[in-house]
């Protein structure tokens, strides 16, 4: 398993549109992808769960990838977060 932490800097937090984009990016990898925030963990390939995390500006989220291409997925998602959130 590969994991990393990321602090949301976007003022709006993970809202509908960026959540949609994130889910799309996550779904493009074969491995499992989960996001955790404050003890709650959701499947990053499911948009309602990702939106339901309610991650706001300043929140730390943990992205975990597990399985085939997990390292690439983690790297790619980290980049995505840095560029968009």
């Amino acid at each position: 398993m590969t994991e990393f932490n990321y602090v949301i800097v976007d003022k709006q937090g993970i809202h509908a549109r960026p959540a949609g984009q994130f889910v799309k990016e996550a779904a493009s990898f074969p491995c499992e992808v989960h996001i955790a925030k404050g003890g709650k963990e959701v499947d990053a390939k499911r948009i309602l769960g990702v939106m339901g995390l309610g991650a706001k500006c300043g929140d730390t989220i943990t992205v975990k990838t597990n399985g085939e291409q997990e390292a690439e997925a983690a790297e790619h998602l980290r980049k995505f977060l840095e560029e968009n959130l």
């Binding site: 509908a16 949609g20 499947d43 499911r46 309602l48």
Partner: protein, 566 residues
């Protein structure tokens, strides 16, 4: 009858009211026998709903742009969400219920999850989940979605509008949106802003709790059978400036609003037609047309009105809003933000112009008998160098993030300009030593004293530009206190003395390669635009709302009279 709501977009609409009733979405729970067949029915409906959303996305993309259309893509993803799908199929499988009921229940559950969240924006997303469930149900039941009947454009009153409902509406038939629920983040509000039509939210048209302002209509409103007020087809007015909704207004109100709306529309047509066009006379001379602003947030208005730059950024707000001298970082942040927002366009910052009618207690300025001619502006700055240097350091540091010019107010002598330049040299040396990055800024002065006009030839050798402050220049030249109403009848803003002074300043400036603009109120006087252009003025800086009217005047002007051109 007048109801009060909250405006989310300004403007006036006058027209027939139409109440948007949602279809009866009462979903009945039914027992089904063939579970697998019901799941197949659900899957088929889900596929169809996604196709509908794809079509809506394409439609919205054309009508309201990618950012606003994206929501339908998000809806498609929600329909693909395994949590959502599983919650529906599990319910069908374990409870043997119909797909409609399962979809409605799943929609309620997920929307409750969002409704319980802290964040306002997320709470709004509860409507999205309900929306996709309603879409599924509509497909399953084979019913079409609601819309507007008839051909005449209407003021649409609704409880709240889901995104799919707003995009399905024929927008050429909507004059205004009025909703009972919603927030400034709701789709209706966003859509209204995109469509440029007035919209109100939070208008309680069911009567209870509404702030009725017109108590004369004592009789009970008639309500239709379904509990909605009986207003369909009645005349209404939406005032997007005050947030008021008028139901069946009297003739006088109606004609007043028709006139307001006409004036509004004329202004808008002017704006629309002139956006993106050059500030060029009919015979080809181009003028720079900039905006005067007095705060950081004003820059948005300048850009929205197509300003070519900021011709006068009054820095006083930083001092007047504060309890104590604003520090370098606060000022740096403000100047940098404006420079960045203007994205490379020129931003002319005028240094502190305090004193006279603009006072801040902490400066401890003594009362004066004649403050307009007293201790103010550059006179304070050259004495209180600490204050002046703080501001200059902030401006130079911000200069790295855009194109900043600096302008100094109330200049009467060459000596003052030279002192300023010495201080600037010190500031630059300090910044160099501390490793701050900055760019070289164009330096200019306000021409607002008769003295500056008379020695403009000498001053032009010292600076890069002049900006004529016509308000003070007129007051000093005509010896008329503008605050004194007794003198109104002899105050003549078009006085020949002022026009000749401006001409003199332009000629003297140009001799020394110094460009000349006007940033006083006279610059926005469209009856003088052609006169200024013929004098050779290079720039006009006006309040943001006057940019397009002045552009119009420029485009109708000729830089040379016909005879001269021949």
């Amino acid at each position: 009858m007048i109801l009060q709501g909250k405006s989310v977009f300004g403007g006036i609409a006058v027209g027939k009211l139409a109440l948007y009733r949602k279809r009866d979405d009462q979903v009945k729970r039914k027992k089904i026998s063939d579970v697998e067949a019901e799941i197949r029915r659900f899957e088929k409906a889900r596929k169809q709903a996604k196709e509908q959303l794809g079509t809506l996305y394409e439609k919205a993309l054309k009508e309201v742009g990618e950012v606003n259309a994206m929501i339908f893509e998000v809806h498609q993803m929600m329909l693909d969400d395994l949590d959502y799908i599983e919650s529906i199929t599990n319910m069908i499988r374990t409870q043997g219920v119909n797909a409609e009921f399962a979809a409605a229940t799943a929609g309620d559950n997920f929307s409750q999850m969002f409704a319980a969240m802290e964040d306002d924006y997320m709470r709004e997303r509860a409507a999205d989940v309900r929306d996709i469930s309603n879409r599924l149900i509509a497909v399953l039941q084979g019913t079409a979605s609601g819309g507007i009947d008839g051909e005449e454009p209407v003021i649409l009153l609704a409880d709240d509008l889901a995104p799919s409902e707003t995009v399905q509406l024929d927008k050429s038939r909507v004059l205004s949106f009025v909703t009972r629920g919603g927030s400034t983040n709701s789709h209706t509000a966003i859509l209204a802003r995109t469509m440029n039509i007035p919209a109100l939210i939070g208008v309680d048209f069911f009567g209870s709790g509404s702030k009725r302002q017109d108590e004369t209509s004592a009789e009970e409103d008639r309500f239709a059978e379904d509990g909605w007020p009986d207003w369909d087809g009645k005349t209404g007015i939406v005032d997007g400036y005050t947030g008021k909704l008028y139901i069946e207004p009297d003739e006088k109100t109606l004609s007043e609003y028709r006139a307001k709306k006409e004036a509004d529309e004329q202004k808008r047509r002017l704006l629309q037609e002139l956006k993106g066009k050059a500030n060029v006379t009919s015979d080809g001379r181009e003028i720079n047309l900039y905006a005067n602003i007095g705060s950081v947030s004003d820059a948005a208005g300048a850009l929205a009105n197509d300003a070519g730059g900021i011709g006068l950024f009054r820095s006083e707000f930083l001092y007047l809003e504060a309890e104590d001298y604003p520090g370098e970082e606060v000022q740096f942040a403000a100047y940098k933000t404006v420079a960045e927002n203007m994205a490379g366009k020129k931003v002319i910052i005028r240094t502190l112009d305090i004193g006279a009618d603009k006072q801040a207690d902490y400066f401890g300025l003594a009362r004066e008998d004649n403050p307009a001619m007293g201790y103010r502006a550059i006179r304070i700055c050259l004495e209180r160098r600490d204050i002046f240097k703080t501001q200059l350091r902030a401006i130079y540091r911000a200069s790295y993030y855009g194109t900043i010019s600096i302008m100094f107010p109330m200049i009467i002598s060459v000596g003052e300009v030279r002192q300023i330049k010495e201080i600037i040299a010190e500031v630059k040396a300090e910044l160099n030593a501390e490793g701050f990055l900055y760019r070289d800024c164009e330096l200019g002065i306000m021409i607002e004293t008769p003295a500056a006009v008379m020695i403009s030839e000498l001053l032009a050798r010292e600076v890069d530009f002049f900006s004529v402050g016509t308000n003070d220049l007129t007051q000093y030249t005509l010896a008329i206190d503008r605050q004194n109403p007794k003198l109104d009848n002899i105050y003549d803003s078009h006085h020949e003395a002022i026009l000749r002074m401006i001409r003199m300043v332009v000629e003297n400036g140009h001799k020394e390669n110094c460009w000349v603009g006007i940033c006083g109120e006279l610059g926005a006087d469209t009856t003088l635009t052609e006169t200024f252009i013929r004098m050779g003025i290079d720039e006009l800086s006006v309040t943001p709302s006057m940019i397009l009217p002045v552009r119009d005047a420029i485009r109708k002007s000729r830089a040379f009279s016909q005879d001269f051109a021949r």
